[in-house]
Symmetry: C2
Subunit: 334 residues, 2 copies
Amino acid sequence: MRLVLATIVFAFLSQCFTHPCRADDPLPSWHDGPTKTAIVRFIERVTDEDSPNFVPEAERIATFDNDGCLWSEKPIYFQLVFAIDRVKELAPEHPEWKTRQPFKAVLEDDHEALAKSGMQGIAELVMATHTNMTTDEFAKTVESWLKTTRHPRFDRPYQELVFRPMLELLEYLRANGFKTYIVSGGGIEFLRVFAEEVYGIPPEQIIGSSIKTEFELRDGKPVIVRLPETDFINDKEGKPVGIHRHIGRRPIAAFGNSDGDLQMLQWTAAGAGPRFCLLVHHTDADREWAYDRDSHVGRLDKALDAANKNGWTIVDMKRDWKTIYPKPSGYAPY
Amino acid sequence: MRLVLATIVFAFLSQCFTHPCRADDPLPSWHDGPTKTAIVRFIERVTDEDSPNFVPEAERIATFDNDGCLWSEKPIYFQLVFAIDRVKELAPEHPEWKTRQPFKAVLEDDHEALAKSGMQGIAELVMATHTNMTTDEFAKTVESWLKTTRHPRFDRPYQELVFRPMLELLEYLRANGFKTYIVSGGGIEFLRVFAEEVYGIPPEQIIGSSIKTEFELRDGKPVIVRLPETDFINDKEGKPVGIHRHIGRRPIAAFGNSDGDLQMLQWTAAGAGPRFCLLVHHTDADREWAYDRDSHVGRLDKALDAANKNGWTIVDMKRDWKTIYPKPSGYAPY
């Protein structure tokens, strides 16, 4: 018994010596200051049964954007890297891609031509690489890609480029009876492959863009097949619609980082009772990236104005976060 | 303290005198027999950590059809009664309905003409009565209808025509770490109005048919508007698709009562590891209704053959259920 106690005390003390912390601090990677205080005060208010702002546990819904909010999104969305890698892998089966845009641009690493192809081009890449297979086959492809691919700047797997302060925030919310959801413009089935292990968020709490699927019996075995047709774009005006479709209840807290999250934050803020809206502002070019109004990926312009006007909380990444990413050994499931 | 204890003992004993029960019986409304035994054995197997059939809690997903499985569906689906009542209520604003089918049939209580209008007619009634309003407005309309309407045969609110044995089963599953879902051909937003209070199933665990919706700012206030356009039919082949869309994980147990549930049961049964599939067979014309292969509402034909072939569990309502409905005072939230 004494040995056990000594071990616990030693573990705790050594943790506090490596980076100073308070034992009761649920957000150790966040600097003390107004941002952290705003988060903690909100959670204390809605969980205090004696507070007029108390919210029953069933209604404690918190929604998080993914790209740029829970993990990085530069130089391009990680799911787009996946699509590009898949095009290169599948190219031998598609000789016609050598002369057809946007595939030609991908195969020749012609970033300018790829950028020119715009959203239409990206949609074509996604349809060509994400569909005409069963849902199980798609999940396996994503899983294997995540295992073997590394981010060019940080030389670590993409799922290790998640934000440690946000992981703490997710955990802190759940410890206080919140149900945490991802509400992403990214593909719902792409996210579901890693979200449970990386974020602790189960598949049924992922909301994302989707393509149509179809139930089929293949040799008597039921499968769900991914069709090359868009079903739903879970971005901008689509986010409140996706939230309502999946949850059927308005969130009381929402977290984003770009104009794609504006409507989710508006929808959340407009509910009755206490509300919390937060934007992650990328201000740290040294440790991550610095961008906002002029960025092609994750543009933060209208939503920044709305946050200032409505008093939403804004994370200044450089000022508010002690660390950005977990230690490389930390959260890598693969 | 003694008084408290005496009260508890008295409450327990009087319960056992009114209908004999065992203190540890999680399914007191079910007669002992092979059906009950099959349910209990399955739950014991998947929750026993020492069993080779143990299933981690996160994967204990159970899906339930609603109409005819959790509540009655005769003489017609209760949501169709709601649509008919709404047509009559809105008729003064729509003089054209007097001469236009299927509205004319509804207003003249012409059941034959209404039946003739078929699924297309029902869809028209639903579009005319369920759309062109905000999601909040729709929920209020359903709530008020449930409060004021009674079933013609049993003279009680529709939400008191839920099956008591199934309520016990839902509770039993949840007490064993299952997440319980409704997977219904009925409207997702219709179900969400009462499912939490009646079944203990929160809005985010309801999967149903849906119409398209749209996010809008009305005088600066965000609303979600219901459009007169079908989004998804969550029936037959649609059920596994709806399950995959919302849950992203295959159920290990599925409960239905008609051919509309066949694909959900096939999808569930085809997963690896222990699986449980059950059909409620309506065999009790005295206490509820008796119907199967020839019924227009809730036809049970192909699914019954599949159940017999695959050894799925079949509830014989007359033989297996001690009581059908809760006491009138019991589960009525309104």
